[in-house]
Symmetry: C2
Subunit: 329 residues, 2 copies
């Protein structure tokens, strides 16, 4: 990584993982040791200005929490959702922050905080976190996939994060796997995340319920369709509900289709799975791995391992910290 | 590239592009200058042994053609179709050479020729050829896509060919874009090459004709369904045939779906298009680029350029020569 990490003088970074619902800030060193942290809600329905105030407020709280070690903080890493360019520091659009359009987030935060700031996509940050401190340590070619309300990705080739020509590479959730599938928030159709995310799972459940399906999901959601989430489907699955079984199976199937694509394209040694929906565990993931094995080239499938993310809630913030420490040189 | 290229003493490589129908051997230097060449038919319906004899025969003819410069040949590059591992030198399977199963091609040719041999997938070789001497010179992140009977690919990230963990990366033709689409020779379903290759185009034409479609394709194929190829559809298109227009449009559409996936995943600066079907030119490709533009992230689509392959027939052999010269160190 190039930065000094030895002894008391080791440099620290402050880093934020800005999500659609939560803001996590940490102060961390180059070994992934977290010195202090701050967690608060994202005012996602408010203006970008309000969200940025919450980000800088959270950063200041984490820095204050570092006490006298705050003097060793030399840079800030900023993990943000959506499509952003790490070179220009601009967040173009963000599905989870619908009011955001071409926000020069890096420069605003840098001015507010009086420190160099390095912007990185949230899934790329999580991939870096897992590469340096988590499930992907020591690998050269791996893909990080986060499965939650959407599907995000981070690509590591030759031991380095691959960010593409204008910094927006890795949007594996927006590869089409069903060309005539549902329209996606990104404007494309049949994107992986439209077929296999938590949002897709809940959407299909609501659709089937509106068609009159007899299922425990209704009872768990207390008869209120708007309460049907991936979590209610998961609970119904655990009660042996037939529809939930079918819907989870459908999600596994589509996850497997996308995994097979990544395996045929990248021939990675490892796919690391993070995100809320992945917490369903084997009931969702084991059939997905089997579907991938049926579809991918044998020679490529033989070479790949699947692993759950290890840092989960901290991977984005720790990855953003690494990004800042490494770029600050 | 590392090899010495100055003056008369510059090293040369012999290189083969082994295809399903043709074998092209060249002797070339590190600047892409071809000293001699040999072209012959591939006895694809014969045993692997017979094909390998044709390969070594072609190599010997090209080397003989180099005259006294043959003494400067230090290594052999071998571009082969199908799934192969450059590290072990084994060709696992090859759709265009159906009798091939785990053939240790590299070691057999090395023993026959008494020279170090470097194996590389044919599409990867073509990507390297375009990177060093063709349409992709000077780029860092580009994808080579060959559209012919199948769809092959080569991925260049950070200015280097990306071959993955066991050497089989880049199989972009086998990413599923229609999860319930036709079964592919690879065992997967709805692969890009099942939807958008020349084979797919001819298959759809034959299907529509068998259903009784009124089209000039029948006349061009002299009433013989087995004569219907992508080429006959293209000729019918040029006569203004409605079905041909529809079928070419369908192929463009699916090409666009796949291009959008590559753009969202790789955010490349360039996509280079080679292969026989691409010779249809703008009538096929311009609508495909537009479909990709409708589907891909704007920020990624803005960054990409499409270009036709420049070396075409020679790209695989020249890329294999580069592969040998570079690996021979």
């Amino acid at each position: 990584m190039g930065q000094r990490t030895g002894g008391k003088a080791a440099r620290l970074a402050a880093a934020v993982d800005l999500g659609g619902s939560k803001i996590l800030s940490v102060v961390a060193d180059g070994h992934g040791k977290i010195v202090s942290r701050d967690l608060r809600a994202t005012p996602a329905d408010k203006s970008p200005q309000a969200v940025i105030r919450a980000v800088t407020g959270s950063l200041r709280a984490a820095i204050a929490g570092a006490g006298e070690r705050a003097s060793r903080i030399t840079s800030i890493g900023l993990g943000a959702p959506g499509i952003s360019n790490p070179e220009t520091g601009v967040v173009f659009t963000s599905p989870n922050l619908p009011q955001w359009k071409e926000v020069p987030l890096r420069d605003i935060v840098a001015r507010e905080m009086g420190m160099p700031v390095w912007l990185i996509n949230d899934a790329n940050a999580a991939a870096l976190g897992e590469l340096y401190f988590g499930a992907a340590r020591g690998t050269r070619n791996f893909i990080y996939v986060t499965i939650s309300t959407g599907i995000g990705g981070g690509i590591v080739t030759g031991g380095r994060l691959y960010t593409g020509t204008s910094g927006v590479a890795g949007e594996v959730g927006h590869m089409t796997i069903a060309d005539d599938g549902p329209e996606c928030t990104c404007g494309n159709r049949g994107c992986w995340e439209q077929m296999a995310s938590g949002t897709a799972l809940a959407r299909e459940a609501r659709k089937r319920i509106s068609e009159g399906a007899d299922t425990a999901i209704v009872e768990i959601a207390r008869g209120d369709a708007t309460r049907v989430t991936a979590e209610t489907v998961s609970q119904a699955f655990d009660r042996g509900d037939a529809l939930a079984g079918e819907l989870v199976g459908r999600t596994s199937y589509y996850l497997g289709v996308g995994f097979a694509n990544l395996i045929n394209i990248f021939n990675p040694e490892l796919i690391v799975i993070g995100g809320g929906l992945a917490n369903m565990g084997d009931k969702l993931l084991a059939p997905a791995y089997r579907e991938a094995g049926r579809r991918a080239f044998k020679e490529a499938f033989r070479a790949v391992r699947f692993a759950r993310a290890q840092l989960e809630a901290d991977s984005g913030a720790l990855g953003a910290a690494v990004w800042a420490l490494r770029n600050a040189g």
